[in-house]
């Protein structure tokens, strides 16, 4: 909470979320999955959001980006560079989505359109947002493929998603989020579906993006190890509540909340250092 206070008048401030609540209308009644979430993010910083599955991590960020399923709605505010993402219309939001805000999803295997070539899936973003010609957009695609360290990018843009491995697809997803030089990337469990080697390669790409390109990153994960490796700040979520929020070092070394302590105690002792 202290951290949030400090950030208010900061020109580096990228995203400020105030009292965000998310609800779903279900046959069993109205369910609140996120309760008054408050947090903020600076440029070039990484905020880790940690919690067990079902704690509302993903829905928090789906609500900010307007990706909630049709029976969901939200209250509160999420100010991105002075623009409220919650109260804005779909159309206004679309000017930011994919352009200034990139989203990376949990399951790379199913998150790419199966019948569209990789090059098209990348270049369409720049064509749509920046009105680039398809030739220029294709060149941009090759550039971002270099950033995510994909070899043979010229062959790659002519292949279909089913021809790639899971790790490659996740790099493509990162490349998609980078197409229009975003300022914020939200990554929802980006490494959960991947094996450990690929996982560390992906995380090192995130570290590069953060330090070299000054991109703010929100990293959602249930894996404290992943968070510890990349995040500057961390928010711990449980049952829709942010139970603890602070710098990664403070939270991990000196947890205040019972749940955080419990989470940390679940890490096998040989990983603690």
């Amino acid at each position: 909470m202290q951290l949030t206070q400090k950030n208010i008048n900061n020109s580096n401030l990228l995203l400020k979320v105030n009292n965000l609540s998310v609800f779903f209308n279900t046959p069993e009644g109205n369910i609140q999955v996120v309760k008054d979430a408050n947090f903020s993010l600076n440029k070039g910083e990484c905020l880790g959001v940690v919690g067990e599955s079902g704690s509302g991590k993903t829905q928090t960020f789906f609500s900010i980006t307007g990706l909630l399923s049709s029976n969901g709605y939200c209250k509160g505010s999420a100010i991105f560079k002075g623009f409220d993402l919650i109260t804005s219309s779909e159309e206004e939001k679309r000017r930011y989505l994919g352009k200034s805000i990139g989203f990376i999803f949990q399951d790379p295997m199913t998150s790419l359109t199966p019948h569209m070539k990789i090059g098209k899936q990348l270049s369409e973003i720049a064509i749509f947002h920046e009105k680039l010609s398809s030739k220029l957009a294709m060149e941009r695609s090759l550039e971002v493929l270099d950033i995510v360290k994909m070899p043979k990018s010229r062959d790659l843009i002519n292949s279909y998603p089913h021809e790639l491995s899971g790790g490659m697809k996740q790099r493509i997803m990162i490349a998609i989020s980078l197409m229009c030089r975003p300022e914020l990337i939200i990554a929802d469990e980006p490494t959960t579906a991947l094996d450990v080697t690929t996982q560390s390669e992906i995380l090192s790409i995130f570290n590069d993006l953060k330090s070299n390109m000054n991109i703010g990153i929100i990293l959602i994960s249930h894996n404290i190890g992943v968070i510890a490796e990349t995040s500057d700040n961390v928010a711990v979520m449980k049952n829709g509540l942010i139970v603890e929020n602070g710098s990664t070092f403070n939270v991990l070394t000196n947890p205040k909340d019972e749940y955080t302590k419990h989470l940390l105690s679940c890490i096998p002792p040989w990983l603690e250092k």
């Binding site: 994919g98 999803f105 790419l112 369409e124 973003i125 749509f128």
Partner: protein, 310 residues
Amino acid sequence: MRTNMIKFIVKRLLIAIPTLLVIIAFGFIMMRVAPGGPFTSERALPPEIERNIQEAYNLNKPIWEQFYIYIKNLSVGDFGPSFKYKDFTVNELILSGLPVSVTLGLSSIIISLFIGCFLGIVAAIKRNTYFDYSVMSISLIGICIPSFVMAPLLSLFFGLYLGLLPTSGWNGGNVLNLILPITALSLPQIAVISRMMRASTIEVLNSNFIRTARSKGLSPSYIVRKHVIRASILPIIEYLAPASAGLMTGSIIVEQIFGLPGIGRYFVVGALQRDYTLVSGVMILYASLLIALILVTDILRALLDPRVKL
């Protein structure tokens, strides 16, 4: 890709041969065992037809040779003489009916695909709105009213009651004469296709890759055009062959009710009069058409879905 395609087509055609042989053998056996068939002795036929059949099938030769001759004739497209229509071969009858049936069938399939897919997609996008509910309820009614109820109702209402459209006859393929038969043929297919398209579009709209497309900030109409349709139309492609089979049988009824001189009409007349050569000729024609359609379906699917290898 191209050589693969040719290889695939050749392979499928080779597989189709045994299928067709089974169907032809079925027709041949039917002609032999059927009471009053061309090969049975208790028939009472005009002598000229009898002579034609004797010549065509070489009845004095052994069975296998007869079957061989029958297939040999078929392979050059000769279905033999008609059993009931004097002086006509089955070829002549089929050829005279073909333009009518093809016009009916093709226009119906194109119209039902176009309207059905459109309604299905819009209903899926606007799901749980009044548009969705009305399309789905009307299409349910469309499914439950079979063509032999729909066709007379249409002709009763638009033909006799309102007097807007002619209720029977081909009239050289006049558009006015075609409206009612094509409507009667298309309505059930539109109903089925729109429901299928709605279901598959909803499934695609809920899929992860559409969520990705939305996270790119693309406009909804662009997402539907480029990301949704090609994926959601796949089940419709699968349905193409059954739909065409449905249109074939539907056209039998529709040609009957609207008095159109198509193949279906000849088939019914042939069936009622036990014109076995005509009936088995039509059956072989329909079967070949279906086999060709299944082949087209497989090719289309491979073109639309890169994951499918030919």
